[in-house]
Symmetry: C5
Subunit: 362 residues, 5 copies
């Protein structure tokens, strides 16, 4: 699980962690997250058109029972117990590479087809209560009558699917495991929109700040935002291709009917990618505006300085002349010398003001 703080909150260290399994054999099950004490627990929802039942917690031994026509959703929360994961893997005859990726929380999104199951890694991205962006690893395995989900934390992205099954809303109860697989994926993708909306709002706030009252901090915030968009894109952009691969796949596990729905999900992925692209361009625009504002402010400062200096430096020179102590300075003894100097200075001042007015500097 990785938190992203958006502009305003202080940035987290190590934003782009990369995996550290150097030197281990491929296929080694190594948990990479920071929830190491979490106990793995299993929930199961089994349903058919006629009924839906939820069992929680479930022991691993009972997973094997299967009733004709039932679809099972097995949800594993907590990925740090390697022994548990291994025995689960054995039960479902999962390839060791699958198990490795299932618990490897830094794994980028992927879809791999095996002989009798389809394995996928995705990233749930959602906002926590403090409006932080949470990125969480989730792995989905689709079998013929079963979807196996690996999660780090129990959270509520999948709650809507759970309710639709238990409350018999929509068509989900009357369809197979592939539809459940799609429904979970769809729930993940739907949550991306919430995060996009949050970013969109941040952009508007920054836009306001850049136009009204840009501060040195503002540039930093814009760059932070750009970095967030980069980071989210990294986990979201590959999903488009993965979904499109599921659609083109000839795997019998995915029915033609579900592919119609996946096409819809693909559509959402395209929209998300477009939005991220647009956000990136908007962040760059904001930076341009920011820089042009900095320059404009400098211009304004320079104008004030130039106007003040250009007016008073010559005048100071004039009064300096008559501060000289030469024995022979006829003007000093003129009756109206003092007033004439004032006159000259006022005329000069007016000429200056007209000049600067014409140049629109004042």
């Amino acid at each position: 699980m990785a938190k992203i703080h958006l502009p305003g909150s202080k940035p987290l260290k190590k934003k782009f962690k990369i995996h550290k399994k150097v030197g281990k054999a491929p296929g080694t099950i190594t948990y990479m997250g920071n929830r190491e004490n979490a106990i793995s627990s299993l929930d199961v929802i089994a349903y058919k058109d006629e009924y839906a039942e939820e069992y929680s917690p479930v022991k691993i031994e009972t997973l094997n029972e299967y009733k004709e026509g039932e679809v099972k959703w097995i949800n594993l929360v907590g990925l740090s117990d390697e022994g548990f994961i291994t025995s689960l893997g054995k039960l479902f005859e999962l390839n060791s590479l699958v198990l490795e990726d299932a618990v490897h929380t830094e794994q980028r999104p992927k879809v791999d087809e095996y002989d009798n199951y389809i394995f996928g890694v995705f990233k749930m991205i959602y906002l926590d209560d403090d409006q932080n962006i949470i990125i969480e690893h989730v792995a989905l395995v689709l079998f013929e009558n079963l979807v196996l989900v690996f999660q780090e934390l129990k959270d509520d992205v999948f709650n809507s699917v759970r309710q639709r099954i238990l409350g018999k809303q929509g068509r989900i109860r009357s369809r197979g495991a592939d539809y459940l697989y799609f429904a979970l994926l769809d729930a993940i993708i739907d949550n991306y929109f919430v995060v996009l909306e949050h970013i969109s709002e941040q952009i508007e706030i920054l836009e306001e700040e850049v136009y009204r009252n840009p501060k040195p901090k503002t540039a930093q915030k814009i760059q932070e935002l750009k970095k967030e968009v980069l980071r989210i894109r990294r986990f979201v952009a590959p999903v488009k291709e993965l979904v499109s691969r599921l659609i083109d796949s000839e795997n019998p596990l995915i029915t033609k009917d579900t592919k119609l729905f996946l096409r819809d999900a693909l559509d959402h992925c395209l929209e998300i990618n477009e939005s991220l692209q647009i956000y990136r361009e908007m962040a760059m625009s904001l930076m341009e505006i920011y820089m042009s504002n900095v320059s404009n402010k400098m211009n304004e400062v320079m104008k004030v300085l130039t106007v003040m200096a250009s007016i008073f430096i010559p005048l100071t020179f004039i009064v300096g002349i008559y501060g000289m102590n030469f024995d022979h300075m006829p003007e000093l003894h003129w009756e109206n010398g003092y007033y004439m100097v004032w006159g000259i200075m006022i005329v000069l001042l007016l000429l200056m003001l007209i000049y600067f007015k014409k140049k629109r500097w004042i």
Copy 2:
């Protein structure tokens, strides 16, 4: 319906709204627009080579009637009445995903082929009376003898098609539903050109402003324009691929003859995309010019300051010297000391002026 204000008018909030259906089952019909009270109404135009009749408003029950050889254009205005939409969907046996997208006003352009119909979502983009850019959702369903149109508002983008049918202009009456489908699409695409022309004019106005009298506000206007182009491109760019998919489609609903016309429409799409690309590059050029102008102005300000300060500060120093009160300052008692100082100062001034003239600062 979404309004875009071009530079000059105050920007609208929430420009890049994203869809908010998180947590709902896919295929749920949810109207996303802001015209929720609008009553759905149906218009029908039925025509054949020999005649064309317009019925308005029409009840849903009568839609089913069909005369041999007739082409029907059913126009639904108002998308907020979910019950109505659902019964319409049932009548035409539309997939629930189609109905969802038909009323989902934030849906990006798409074309989906189903067994006996082709479904498409497009965006009408046109100028309202205040020269605001209006983006409106429209969904078109092509059946064998029927085109079903979903619109949010009754507007006149399709009026030209209506007139051509009723007035028997051109070839439209002698052709099938696929040609009507093309004609509606063509009307939508033609309107893009009006908006492009409007943007092109805005660019010229901004160009004038940047070259003649750039203000801090100008940079903001340029960025606003860039954002508009981004936004329009988002809805317009996909159309090119959609039209080209219709052309390559082997669906019997689209005749080879109509494909010739679609090829023409594709050509227009290419032109539109090119124009948008050029507008974007021009906006970037404008921003560059703006920035170079800001720098040039700063240069000019600095030159005035430097010339004024460089001339008068040394002179002020000279008059300061003879303002000192030392007991022994022989120059003060020279007969022509005062005039000699003036002479020195005038020579210095001239040297300075020559120097700055040579540097082209004055």
Copy 3:
């Protein structure tokens, strides 16, 4: 016909006109140019290996005559007479979309293959006597023994081809209509090089200006040039793909032998596109140099100001001290006080000069 003024001449309004046929039925013949009074006139050159004859002007009725083994080049000048165009279209059984594009002077380059002819729209780009870049619409239709050319104005881009036919230069007389089609296309493409050379010269002039004597106007000229390159690319870039489509086409109208020549033309198109790309990058480089020059100039101005102010402000302070009127200022009464002040000031001045010399500011 559209003129482009290069940097130096005053910019024309409406540079990126877009087509205005909104609301008309597709296939409507609408002339878009500004030569509406021009009378359409027909020239014909008919040739065989043994002879070549030119007929001008020719009446439409006589076009139909055909002698065995002859190749005919029919040249139509003047596109505003819709009736005339329509009857010509009927005579040659041209699709209404073809006629529409043939007279639609804003049409982008395209090639469309029909059952018994190939239709192409291209842009002639050449320099007029005032070195303005002229962009002119031309449409070419290739039949089995005939090439039909639609032009707005009679101009001399095709003169070289005409002379080669009449003077029996090269291989043109011994080949078919497809070679004539290629020769005309080749003449169009060859003229692009003249325009590219002109732009290349403009870039050199601007380069000289940027390096020697950059003025605020220079940035504007660079951007104008970039815009010209954009505009020309718009009409020139698609040609590459069109020629390559002609080469790949399996249409019997184009012989394998002529394809060899088209391959050569394709080569030229690649070269043109590369050159335009390079010009664009060079224009961007010029802008960068320009901006760095503006900054360097500012630096220079600032240095003069800083040197002058840093030297004379402290000196002025010193003379100010001894201009004070305190009753008790011992230095004022020292015998050599005045000379000591001069000494201090000269030392200070020298230290300053050394400091600035070391910083390379003077």
Copy 4:
């Protein structure tokens, strides 16, 4: 072997060396590195499921012995002895181009399939004890039961593989030479992550520096970092395509089972490329922030100057007035003249302060 110094250490000369074999016949074995005195030495690890034995050093004559079912890993360290390499090449019937590339340390990554072996060149990239990035050439040849490795230096990137074989960890002992080939490649790729992590840390350090205390040197460090990323990408980016070519290859040397693992390695390559792309964008962001900071600092400096000058230049003018020596200056003789001047000056000062406060310059 090429060292890269990251920002902080002084840059090495000749970073982008290019190969110098101009004028030699292709296929000439020429060592390009700087370890010319190194003696070539051979290590062999031979293993089967039941046992694993290490022989070191091994004479070239004994390489030919082969036991049924054994996999052999022949590791050659030191590439400067051309005679030795040539005889090795003869022994294994390697193409002269293979030998050339095997010792050509500037060779970019490549994979070539020959009739009975697959040849690959890769780059090991790792950190030495001083945190310098070391780029080292390695060539791998896969035969049916043999992997032949060409290395410049004996280093420990492959140690983990060696230990897994000797210690019988994981599945390596029970699989063929193709799995060994994969395991070595995987060890190389895994080390890239260590280097990426190092770069990621450098970016964070630079980010800190840019935000807190940017110095002129900082820009240079950012550009150095960008250059390092460019350089690493050059050697790492092609690996993705090479691995994907191995996966798609129909060569019987690579079993379907090993391809599953290669697919995993491909995944890592994708992640590495993405990370490098992100690092590059982050470096560009840093540069933007740096530039905006420089501008902000200039703004701050200018404000101080403008405030100081704008306040004191007018005041100096005022006191200059009453330093004039005119015979008739009534104010000089007023009882409270001096105090009135102070009053005027204090009022002026306050007005100035309010003005600057309002502009937020102080």
Copy 5:
């Protein structure tokens, strides 16, 4: 032949010449270079495994003689004699388009396959004695037992190949004409590396200059370098695709064995393109550094000005006060007034210094 002067030497006019054959029939032989007086001369090297003989100069009539099993390399130097070229073309039955391109020195690199020969145009790029980059046109025609080379100038890029043939080095004597063709191409490509190395050195020199002592001229030099890279890329980039086309070609003229070597050459082309790309990015980085240096210098200048002005302007104001001539100024008559003013001024100075120290401006 076109010279490129790298930064330092004065730029040549007309860097991007484009071909001037407008109006001529395609296939016309027109020499475009500037070596018009050069006499065409023919050299021939004929070799077999057993012997190799060089004939120079050779008369055109004798070219036709052919001995069984011999490979002939005919080298034509001097392209301005059109009659000579034409008779050569007739002798070898070359297409007129081939002859046109062979002497057209502005032709971009290309490969065209004809029925019994393969024609290629490439660019030799090498350094002359003054380290200028020379770009020279070369055309290679591969027949079954013959390679025909068209060169403008006799130069030594091919000397290494000549020596390998005559000295029987490497495998060249035992292979066919296709290997000779490859060897010549390889010699051309190898020379690109020399030029790349030269550019790489120029970048390092510029890097040094930008970091140590950037001058206004430096920006210009960087842009010149960028332009050189652009120009070289133009001639070098297409070679990659051409070589890859030769590899994929099914022409029997190129044996499978030679394709192995071409694959090696392709590898070099990829490396060259990558290097050029990297050089371009490095040039852009240099420009960024340069701009940031200009800004930093301005900052430094501004700080000096601000410190000097902020310290001395207030002090000058203070001494100005006591230079006023009011009758009633009690301080003037205080015993220690003068010293108190000094005290105040010193305190003020110290405060200022502390302030600027804290801001790190001094």
